[in-house]
Amino acid sequence: MPLLIDSAPDCIVHREGATPADDSLDFILQDRYADCAGFGTFMPGSTYGEDGSSAETLYYILTWLGIVVTVLVLIAWIVYENRQLVGHVTRLSRRPAGPDDPPPPQPGI
């Protein structure tokens, strides 16, 4: 099957087609990762000792996307709640007041 997005790092060995399973320990997938340290999606697949120095453009973009989303979520929370609270107070103030009006509903203890 063709890959829609190949997000695996280059250190992972790909082989075409299905490989027949056998009874030896080698059938497990670990030999495909033999050259890998970091193996996450869009990560460069570096080897040990290169921490922090091996990010690739795609992984930078992914990380910054997360940072931007986090900031936007916080802003959205502020805006949404503010609208909700202000809207509620506005609705209360539009209600005609009268001497026999009951106090605002309170669930109590």
Binding site: Y33, C36, A37, G38, F39, G40, M43, P44, S46, T47, Y48, E50, D51, G52, S53, S54, A55, Y59, Y60, T63, G66, I67, T70, V73, L74, W77, I78, Y80, E81, N82, Q84, L85, V86, H88, V89, L92, P103, P104, P105, Q106, P107, G108, I109
Partner: protein, 479 residues
């Protein structure tokens, strides 16, 4: 029999290659931190339960949601910022630890969000679980603040403040004073092994700064400035929450240790000085025992302060939990819990600061007392990679650093939110209850009867709350 077991273990060690032993040790560490993370969730469950019990019924859902959503915002911000703050700021600003440069560089590399070891990595089993342990500390730090602000703070304002406290402020002071290479440690021997001041003290100071801007709940104080008491809607739930927090605290303490099973003595504190798991577990337990006792007698048997006294007791012995003798821990906790009860009442009645759960006293006062006690009772212990002895002056320096760091950041951030009118819910909403306005429902099923709310006046009389609160609300509206 014992000789046989020892001989078998020796045989196994002879047979196992050194590389295999090291790998086993690393994976043991990975599992260890993983399970501390799982158990530390109980702290958060406890905070939610505790706070939901403390509030009035009309604010239960809003309180629980606030605690849950702490996880939603502190997790990503701590990932993107917090671990970098911890790893890359240990030399201080400006850097004053030339001797720890190599150590700091190594720490810094693994804290950058796009670092190779900060994601799926086959050659680093520790960084992610260690990060997660710190993340749970961050949730805890933010939750310490949450209880104090209940029933009137906006959810969004709290979440912004939680990000600041949980992902920047506390972890910055941890970089300075809660790491083997931090400038306070390597220069001054600052010693706070289980984070009395680093987590609790700073969170308490930050909370106090926020409370100054937030103000009290409507009706909390009379016109003469005397404090009324709002009764918890479910005190049993509050006590249950505290007990859950206590359970999780054992994991919190355990996660503050460094495990290295192939090197003597197998355990080290956060400064890489030797200790044992048993040592800190003993001190927690004796801290609870002393704290409950001190809280009970100082409050004359008040259930809230008795149990809070246990928490205060543990916090007050945390800084020296790696070295204290059990009896010393017991006595320190008892005395500190008693002091915290008095401090809590003073903050409420004299300072007129409406701290719903007494967080400033229980965490802030007990936390800084804990830092101080190390200087008095545990001076002379080599601390950090420079092996500088702990001392009273080093501890005072820590307090002088952490207290303003926490207070000023909390005060300034909440001041900005207040100026933008984003800190507090409108008085109409506070009166009606946050649950109905923000979540469009009362948490309880219709068949659970609504009981009219009561409060305790300063002279001790219990009165119907509606009239008192409505009058106070009218005064607020007029102002």
């Amino acid at each position: 029999m014992l000789d046989f077991v020892i001989a078998q273990v020796d045989n196994l060690q002879d047979a196992a290659p050194l590389e295999g032993l090291t790998r086993d040790s690393i994976i043991l560490g990975e599992q260890y931190y993983f399970f501390t993370v799982v158990l530390m969730w109980l702290i958060h469950v406890g905070f939610m339960t505790y706070e939901a019990g403390v509030v009035r019924r009309k604010n239960v859902m809003a309180t629980a949601m606030k605690n849950i959503l702490t996880i939603a915002v502190v997790t990503p911000t701590f990932y993107y910022i917090g671990w970098w703050v911890y790893g890359c700021n240990q030399p201080g600003f400006p850097p004053i630890t030339p001797n720890s440069t190599d150590f700091s560089v190594l720490q810094c590399q693994s804290g950058i969000p796009w670092a190779d070891s900060f994601g799926p990595n086959l050659t680093n089993n520790i960084n992610l679980v260690f990060f997660l342990a710190f993340l749970l500390f961050s949730w805890t730090t933010a939750s310490i603040m949450s209880g104090a602000l209940l029933e009137r703070v906006r959810l969004s304002a709290y979440l912004v403040l939680a990000c600041l406290l949980g992902s920047v402020v506390w972890i910055l002071d941890a970089a300075w004073g809660w790491s083997a290479g931090g400038w306070m440690t390597v220069r001054f021997g600052f010693h706070d092994s289980i984070a009395s001041g680093v987590v609790h003290g700073v969170a308490g100071a930050f909370t106090l700064g926020v409370l100054f801007n937030l103000g009290p709940r409507i009706g909390k104080y009379t016109r003469d400035g005397l404090a009324r008491a709002f009764r918890p809607h479910d005190l049993h739930r509050t006590l249950l929450g505290l007990m859950l927090i206590f359970t999780g605290f054992y994991a919190f303490y355990a996660a503050c240790l460094v495990i290295s099973s192939t090197a003597f003595p197998g355990w080290a504190n956060i400064y890489l000085s030797p200790t044992t798991l048993g040592t800190i577990a003993m001190i927690i337990t004796f801290g609870f025992a002393g704290g409950f006792t001190g809280g009970y007698f100082a409050s004359r048997g008040d259930p809230f302060w008795t149990v809070s006294g246990g928490l205060a007791g543990v916090i007050s012995v945390s800084a020296g939990a790696d070295v204290y003798a059990p009896t010393l821990g017991y006595l320190i906790a008892m005395a500190s819990a008693a002091m915290v009860v008095y401090a809590g009442n003073w903050i409420e009645k004299k300072m007129r600061v409406d701290d719903v759960v007494g967080a400033v006293a229980v965490h802030g006062v007990a936390g800084f007392l804990g830092v101080l006690w190390v200087g008095v009772f545990a001076a002379g212990y080599p601390t950090g990679i420079n092996n500088v002895d702990s001392s009273l002056w080093g501890q005072l320096l820590g307090i002088a650093t952490f207290l303003p760091l926490g207070f000023l950041t909390g005060w300034f951030a909440s001041w900005v939110l207040k100026k933008l009118n984003l800190l507090r819910v409108p008085p109409e909403v506070e009166l009606e209850g946050l649950d109905v306005v923000e979540y469009h429902q009362d948490l309880y099923l219709p068949e659970v009867a609504v009981v009219s709310e009561r409060l305790i006046e300063p002279d001790g009389t219990i009165v119907e709350a509606d009239a008192v609160i409505a009058e106070a609300h009218s005064e607020v509206i007029r102002r």
